[in-house]
Assembly symmetry: D2
Homo-oligomer: 426 residues x 4
Amino acid sequence: MSALDDDAYRAFRRDLHRHPEPAWREFYTTARIAEELRERDLTELYVGPDALATEDRMNVPDDEELAEWERRARDAGADPEIVDRLSGGYTGCVAVAERGPGPVVGLRVDIDALPVRESADDDHVPAAEGFRSEREGYMHACGHDAHATMGLGTLDAVLDSDFSGTLKVFFQPGEEQVAGAKPMAESGHLDDVDYLYAVHVGLDHPSGEVVCGVDGFLAVRHFLAEFTGEPSHAGARPEQGRNAVQAMAAAVQNLYAIPRHADGPTRVNAGLVGGGTATNVIPEESYIEGELRGATTELADYMSEHADRVLESAAGMHDCEVEVATKGEAPSATSDDALAGIVGEVAGGVDGVTRIVDRDDLGGSEDATYLMQSVQQRGGLACYVGVGTDHPGGHHTSAFDVVESDIAVGIDVLSGAIRRVAETRP
Amino acid sequence: MSALDDDAYRAFRRDLHRHPEPAWREFYTTARIAEELRERDLTELYVGPDALATEDRMNVPDDEELAEWERRARDAGADPEIVDRLSGGYTGCVAVAERGPGPVVGLRVDIDALPVRESADDDHVPAAEGFRSEREGYMHACGHDAHATMGLGTLDAVLDSDFSGTLKVFFQPGEEQVAGAKPMAESGHLDDVDYLYAVHVGLDHPSGEVVCGVDGFLAVRHFLAEFTGEPSHAGARPEQGRNAVQAMAAAVQNLYAIPRHADGPTRVNAGLVGGGTATNVIPEESYIEGELRGATTELADYMSEHADRVLESAAGMHDCEVEVATKGEAPSATSDDALAGIVGEVAGGVDGVTRIVDRDDLGGSEDATYLMQSVQQRGGLACYVGVGTDHPGGHHTSAFDVVESDIAVGIDVLSGAIRRVAETRP
Amino acid sequence: MSALDDDAYRAFRRDLHRHPEPAWREFYTTARIAEELRERDLTELYVGPDALATEDRMNVPDDEELAEWERRARDAGADPEIVDRLSGGYTGCVAVAERGPGPVVGLRVDIDALPVRESADDDHVPAAEGFRSEREGYMHACGHDAHATMGLGTLDAVLDSDFSGTLKVFFQPGEEQVAGAKPMAESGHLDDVDYLYAVHVGLDHPSGEVVCGVDGFLAVRHFLAEFTGEPSHAGARPEQGRNAVQAMAAAVQNLYAIPRHADGPTRVNAGLVGGGTATNVIPEESYIEGELRGATTELADYMSEHADRVLESAAGMHDCEVEVATKGEAPSATSDDALAGIVGEVAGGVDGVTRIVDRDDLGGSEDATYLMQSVQQRGGLACYVGVGTDHPGGHHTSAFDVVESDIAVGIDVLSGAIRRVAETRP
Amino acid sequence: MSALDDDAYRAFRRDLHRHPEPAWREFYTTARIAEELRERDLTELYVGPDALATEDRMNVPDDEELAEWERRARDAGADPEIVDRLSGGYTGCVAVAERGPGPVVGLRVDIDALPVRESADDDHVPAAEGFRSEREGYMHACGHDAHATMGLGTLDAVLDSDFSGTLKVFFQPGEEQVAGAKPMAESGHLDDVDYLYAVHVGLDHPSGEVVCGVDGFLAVRHFLAEFTGEPSHAGARPEQGRNAVQAMAAAVQNLYAIPRHADGPTRVNAGLVGGGTATNVIPEESYIEGELRGATTELADYMSEHADRVLESAAGMHDCEVEVATKGEAPSATSDDALAGIVGEVAGGVDGVTRIVDRDDLGGSEDATYLMQSVQQRGGLACYVGVGTDHPGGHHTSAFDVVESDIAVGIDVLSGAIRRVAETRP
């Protein structure tokens, strides 16, 4: 088998949709993708640890959690040999097709899912048509099932064309936690990429719209700060405690008060916090899972430096210790005009495209920027493409869904742009 | 059957020890006590809802949790008829024995356990001798199994004597959460009690010591504050959130800063806190489970008033709402000299007592004070008795245990004091 | 006398420079301007209360302070009759010259000084040439002496031309405290103005540059929050205090933590704070003098609403009261292209102009925006003009100064633009 | 001249009352005392630097301030030769009278005044009778004028008796700032004192009462924390500031939240705070003048260690520096029973004494404890004596005053106790 027909792409997407997997747990997803890829005429297929700079993985779950998801993947019928290679949370893969002289063109798609419970309502298509998530509490609520399918379809379309050059498709894990791009960017596979495209469906653009260059990515850092003090009986010996909840509270108050920066927007959030064990025990432990952002990498670094100092000082203030770990990060990036222009030209001739949007701002973060920045720093060009779709619920909500015929639009636009860029070498 | 021999008391205590149950979940414990009591020659036995002012119960778990513990009790062999009467979390019982003219004397023992995982070490007697907790994660880590046994044994000893008067034994649930005393004190059963004893083992006093009047109880209030704001995307729309974690942090900082009071010690602790859902979402919800104490009820009230204002203002500061609920409370109380004196006299003649301690300060809280205060306010007398025991681990630790022969010491001291007080009517 | 020659303008500017006066204390300055204006062929001259919506004055000093500065003005030789009319802190004036049919064109210049001690160094021209400030601790450190002179000179130039229409020159007090524009904007004199120019020297542009439209004004609100609690002896009766310093500190921490806004830059500063009386007294009083800004008026309002809630809640948290007063405010505003274009055209023909800058961002606040917005809201046009000058020290520093020959550049540009706008009526 | 009659003592007290002087500025007061002392038959008179361990002085004002008060003392007629010796803020004196074999008995009186504006009301005796403060804004509002007079009168009475032993009277400066005791205690003059009395009038005890041992002194430390950051324009460059007001606010919030201590009362107060320069400047500087207390010296040390850490961490949190200086300190101390008993015995026979109070708690701080502790640590005995007086206003208020006839009561009690202690050598 090589290229799939539309029905087969739909079936593939629905299979992935039924098996949503979060960061570093994409065992089933990676296996299914690799199973398809090995049917193609590829030069190389790098799977799992071979696709990653393994030491750069961030926010990897513990062994028990990984083993549980690995087991589920096997139970669901994933090829056991492939799963063996992914064991330990080494997910994702890179497909390489050398097709004669020409530039190296990359396409990055992400493959992970979210901890969102999927709607079971009748008006939610996956529920009505029987491909609702089988991993209760997890869901493809941001369309990465469609992205993976577009990656496969675009590869098929390019292989089926007169494309001359090398195509690399990066099936990236862990985007939702901004944890997977760095190990893929640092893997070496990106080093010779001259032109890179990344893609996202939806983004509040309806079916028929194509956004030729998404910008406004905020650089971001996710952190986990763990405070450790000393417990004591709150009634009998309050002075013997070293209060980790007071430390955490002081940190929260002062994190949000990091000075605004005149060079552009910054963000901070202590999104998930907790501490203590019982009302009558001075809390020994507490934590903050938070994030810091900036319109540029410099601004995110500014926030990060201040936050580290606040966390350290808040711990010291209450005689506690704190360990601060980075759980995910991504720089900012901007789409290059030349590649964006090509997308616009190509999209004009694609069936189903009714409106071409020049540029749009994301206003959030996305770790494709890691790969984009990496290519751009070596003198290459990069562009983030938006493919509209009528999504009934917002991104990351239980009612999110995509119009499946828009997957073909994405495949046509991306494969067209890849071919055009190889010809024109802008 | 009526009175048990020492082996039987030991077996009874070990049975309770194997089935530790926290507040309002003492289904097995209450059933086992009631099973024993109905063998005695009692005037009345009030069980479950009949032993409580039911509307005064605090911190009752949800139905699912109650049902689970009730099921466990049945599975462990508790009398189903008794468990039926306790259904819904109405635990505890009151035994009444009228034995001729004379005053009404009360004895209060508590019966609940703690969320502590019991040691499985060989040098931990319950583990070594096969009566370690069968409720993983819960443990009689404060000796209430011994207290319940003393309650039964003291009743037996008094019934077996020439005591003239009425004896009431209060088997009280929910002490560890200071949640069970109020509904028992308000049940009506305490209204005619002239003299009340309460008892505790250990308290850092070794085997052989008896403390004739424990004092220094801090009045206490447990509260749960739940903050509600509004979520929003922390990167794209930080201004649309109403941040419940910021509100919680502001509250924590200012709770600990409630002014010290010149009239005596006060305490405050935000012992268990949490909030938020994900790093990139402005937190919609947060909570503080905390406690407030004072050397007197007035001082605890002072702390409570300030805390309510701090919680309300912290919510308002970040445009959130807060609901504050009292989950437990107990006043301060002092042992009366007359009853303490009788304990000292009696203890002098009890086998195994090697040292009589006049008074000692607890420095913590205990809701027996609710019953003591209630009796004292009606003109009665009350006294809290400490029965020493060599406990290898501290109270509330996984290695806590009691020397079982000290249970007999407690029975002798308490039954002797009850008989003496009925004779002398101090 | 009517128009002055260059020497006379220089002398006039130096006279003002020697007598710097802050908001609502510009007695000498206003008198000197009015003395000159009454020599001109004006239709009307509105002085002091006649130039202002008096009830809209903000941040007026107390009577004692006003009387002291009024006395100094008289001692320095200001016309006593004019000073009489300014008595009570009613400073500033409006000159009106009707010169035939045509539009009403306004020019706004500000006249107040700063609480900065002027440099006495030899390389500071005012010190070297004998016109250093005679009001120790106050200084024209932002060039408003040059602005007032430009106002006079531009009037002279227009009167000396074939201008047809009405010219109004607004000599505005209290700009540095964003306190004087509102009462002048609300005075009625602005109501028929069709075109308005405002001007500033320097702004880090060197001599020879003209900025045709300054933008990026942050809307701003200055506030004074005064907290009142209750004192008590910190050792003997800490609980009887209501601590205004704790309230202030809680407010400061949470003011800076007002959420960032996705629509644009915001600012907050607790610039001047204080409280308490002695180490051993629980502080009864405290205050915050602060400011809130936003890139738009809406953003400044957003900050202001949050700040009011924080201040109120911080007071409530410590059982204190707070009074919050607005001491100054200004909206944001944008220069209109049509007027900016005219400035550019005119400036091209002015001697001494070497570079024309299309637009520039101020990045601060300036209450000329009040007048600009007022004109624009009625359908008129407004433009803020920058006139470069080599200023040795930064604005608001003790070494600030202007190149006096640049005053003539400003007069030529402004009078030219006023004449052109009356002709072309854009 | 030697001993004074009652009128002369009254005149002396009124002279001091008219010339109230705060810490290290007691030039007139010391001079007047020394002038009187040199008329007595003393063995030694140590004045100024000879009475102090000069390097241990705390919280000494700057030279300008000292020079101003020195000048006032000279203008008021103080002996210029004595003032010369005090120059630089070396105030206070020690009188030594050796009168045959026997123990060394010390009496400590304090001589400084307070920054309180004295009442000018007709019902305020000093105002009505013409000896109201001539140092506007300063007042003997705690009776140290009476103490100094009692010191002189007690010396006279002892010298006029058959006392055998050595009497030393310590006229101590700077008590109100707990700044003067340490340098006097460390001067060497106290090293051979066997018995020490200290005295205070009032303390809410009416005329006729004598308190034989005042206790409950809280150990105390006064500190000044000065934060230094970096200023920047709050609108244009908020990120370039390092905000000293945010640091101060974080410190205030967390100082009050230092954990309560189970061993006894503790206190903390940020009594006087300030910072910043203008609304639009990120504050570069701020300060906290505060105090820390504990029922024992250990508890005060506990507070002090925590406070130092809080101050340091709060500075670090906002990238500022902080300097923390101790401006005054005093330990806790307890009156010895033996000396207190003697006071009680003697007081029983003194005219005007109607009630003898065994013990009373001060509930505040007083640096006589430095001298008491110093004597006690060498094996001597010490006692703090209260002499009641009907004081119309509270201590440290503008209406405070003493009944002058109670000064004689104090002299009789103290001189009697000194003679008795020399006889009985308890």
